[in-house]
């Protein structure tokens, strides 16, 4: 039903994450276009939240820059509508529950459907609470994307069974003893057993040691998150060219 599967037609998908409005929406637009021209298969757009409790310092700073730049949910909707004139790859929104809830879940997802958003990831909405937004996602044809973590363990099977669009493996604990990658492999195995929905992994979630290569090999795609945001932090409005280069270098 959703267009998200198109991103995986040519093999492993390369996914770019950016926070909308960091540092302004013109730059976000230019960065998305540069990434797509250089082979990005799917775009994940962050709607900034004042208190991103699950994010590390790099993404916290990006949210703050965007909010200080004056971006709002309504401006982001207008921006995506404009972006959709020439960007055809699937586009997801990633945000926090209160951004959707306070806008009105029905109204928020109606707008998503209208402007061509294919999926929604809500960082602080675990499997147990997904009915908060699921009915509205279904109503407007937007996939509610599930996340799993290396610490998910057996939960991964339950999550996979009801997954739609894609599943994101996000980073969990920062242990470097290799147990993280063992756990991640087990989680991916459980996903594979329970669904055909593709599983993608955050590039920076791949452990420095252990079986990073193997994880990258068996999953269906990688998300470039922190790397692109760091380029925005460093180069601001000039970052899109560097982001294009970064996507090109990672495209397999």
């Amino acid at each position: 039903m959703s267009k998200i599967k198109n991103a995986f037609e040519k093999g492993k998908a390369l996914i770019l994450f950016l926070t909308c409005g960091d540092p302004d929406l013109e730059t976000t637009g230019a960065a998305v276009r540069a990434a797509v021209e250089n082979g990005a298969d799917l775009i994940e757009l962050g709607i900034p939240f004042s208190d991103p409790t699950a994010e590390g310092p790099v993404l916290q700073a990006a949210s703050l820059r965007a909010l200080e730049g004056g971006v709002t949910t309504d401006r982001i909707f207008d921006f995506v509508k404009e972006l959709r004139r020439d960007i055809c790859v699937p586009v997801l929104f990633r945000t926090y529950a209160n951004v959707v809830f306070s806008y009105g879940a029905d109204r928020f997802l109606a707008a998503c459907g209208q402007i061509g958003i294919d999926g929604l990831i809500v960082t602080d909405l675990p499997f147990e609470e997904k009915d908060e937004f699921q009915p509205f996602c279904t109503k407007y044809g937007v996939d509610l994307i599930s996340t799993v973590a290396p610490s998910s363990g057996k939960r991964a099977a339950m999550i996979a069974k009801e997954a739609e669009g894609l599943i994101e493996l996000i980073s969990g604990s920062g242990t470097e003893d290799g147990s993280e990658s063992e756990n991640a492999l087990e989680v991916i195995r459980l996903i594979r057993e329970n669904t055909d929905v593709p599983c993608v992994v955050e590039w920076n979630a791949l452990p420095a040691s252990g079986q990073a290569g193997e994880i990258a090999k068996i999953c269906d795609g990688v998300i470039i998150g922190c790397e692109a945001v760091k380029l925005l932090e460093q180069y601001g409005a000039k970052a899109p060219a560097y982001i294009g280069e970064c996507v090109k270098s990672l495209k397999l």
């Binding site: 939240f49 004042s50 208190d51 991103p52 409790t53 699950a54 994010e55 590390g56 916290q60 909010l67 709002t72 949910t73 309504d74 926090y96 529950a97 209160n98 951004v99 959707v100 809830f101 306070s102 806008y103 960082t123 602080d124 909405l125 675990p126 499997f127 147990e128 609470e129 009915d131 908060e132 996340t147 799993v148 973590a149 610490s151 998910s152 363990g153 939960r155 999550i159 996000i170 980073s171 969990g172 604990s173 920062g174």
Partner: protein
């Protein structure tokens, strides 16, 4: 239909990242296993009585009663507990639970520093490592408590993100917990956050109203007409209310920090100025803008300077069982000084919010009526800040 687990009406729930789900599930299972365990409860009661100094006194404030000329006023003296506040009740319970779960490290957030001090104390007592997250702004406002925590062997990490106050300390503690679950228990200090925290903290604080009930029945032979407590996240308030919720004739009044006033942006009065939202793991009322961005709140009291309120309070507000009233900085400071002069008791500036509302309410009530005010903590920590508020340049 949303998940019924950990709900208070529509409020509560478990709105947290997947990375924390196994941690809260593990905690919930452990709590279910131990909460009615006789051995666990025996150990906890011994700690509360022998170490924390419970039961705390229910003191008849005769001079205050006479001066205000209305209802009889009793003070529930949580300020007399070891470490100087009600926070120790919850911390001893959670630290004991963490120990049973095999955890060796406690992390905590703190606003005024009272919960941080209590956590550092329990960790020292039980031989656990302790890390406390505290907004940088609060480490300045409550410098004495920072020193106390370090003296007790805890590491205090100043949080510089956002408004550098309590909400940012909670966010940072959640991040830390998500990255280190195996040996770490997050000792949350208020009746907030994801299920099962609002229930666990309420159960451990309910000792306050259990004692008030026994003590007032013994002294007056009847229940009070009103119970007052200050509300930030709302742990001392829910503890003070819990055993009276079924008694419809007992008014339950939570006193929120209005800061410079509910008609200004410099306020932390969540029920009076906020609206329904989802944040820090729970559905409840929050101070926020039209797009759901959490508002930078303000109160003179670091312990009430939080943009949300515990989900059970949100529910008690919805059903009308409890009332939530705003009290400004100015009213609280007046009450702080009033209680010191009148009864020789220096309350925490947080607790002074409840005293301030009692000063308005008592004269409107008759002499045969009874008010209980929970003095959640002692005010030594606030003296320097209040002196500065009054224009005196003193340094600790």
């Amino acid at each position: 239909m949303t998940n019924p687990k950990g709900r208070f009406g529509i409020h509560g729930g478990q709105y947290i990242p997947e990375t924390l789900m196994n941690a809260v599930t593990e905690l919930e299972e452990a709590y279910c296993r131990y909460k009615d365990d006789p051995e666990f409860n025996r150990e906890l009661t011994t700690l509360l009585n022998e170490y924390a100094g419970r039961p705390s006194r229910l003191y008849y404030a005769a001079k205050m009663t006479e001066d205000l000329g209305g209802a009889k006023i009793y003070l529930k003296r949580e300020d007399l507990n070891h470490t100087g506040a009600h926070k120790i009740n919850n911390v001893l319970g959670q630290a004991l639970l963490a120990k049973k779960m095999g955890k060796t490290r406690l992390i905590a957030e703190t606003g005024a520093g009272q919960h941080g001090v209590a956590s550092a104390t329990a960790a020292a007592l039980m031989g656990m490592e302790c890390v406390v997250f505290m907004g940088e702004e609060d480490t300045i406002r409550q410098a004495l408590n920072v020193y106390r925590m370090r003296l007790l062997g805890a590491e205090v990490i100043p949080v510089k993100t956002g408004t550098a106050t309590l909400k940012d300390a909670v966010s940072e503690a959640m991040r830390e917990w998500a990255s280190r679950i195996s040996d770490t228990h997050y000792c949350l200090g208020s009746v907030m956050g994801p299920h099962p925290f609002p229930t666990i903290v309420r159960d451990f604080q309910a000792v306050i109203s259990r004692e008030i009930r026994e003590q007032i029945l013994e002294k007056e032979g009847r229940l009070p007409d009103a119970v007052l407590a200050c509300v930030g996240g709302g742990s001392n308030a829910i503890g003070s209310f819990w055993h009276f919720i079924g008694d419809q004739d007992v008014r339950l009044i939570g006193c929120e920090a209005a800061g410079r006033g509910v008609d200004t942006f410099e306020t932390a009065a969540t029920v009076n100025t906020g609206r329904l939202g989802i944040f820090h793991g729970m559905k409840s009322y929050f101070c926020q803008d039209q797009y759901g961005q959490i508002a930078p709140v303000y109160s003179i009291s670091a312990g009430l300077d939080y943009p949300g309120i515990g989900p059970e309070h949100a529910y008690l507000h919805d059903t009308g069982r409890a009332e939530y009233v705003p009290v400004t900085d100015d009213e609280a400071v007046n009450a702080f000084e009033y209680l010191a002069r009148t009864e020789g008791i220096i309350p925490a500036i947080e607790s002074a919010h409840a005293v301030a509302y009692a000063m308005k309410l008592a004269p409107e009530m008759s002499r045969d009526q009874i008010i209980v005010i929970t003095i959640s903590g002692r005010g030594d920590k606030d003296c320097a800040a209040i002196a500065r508020y009054r224009g005196e340049d003193i340094h600790e």
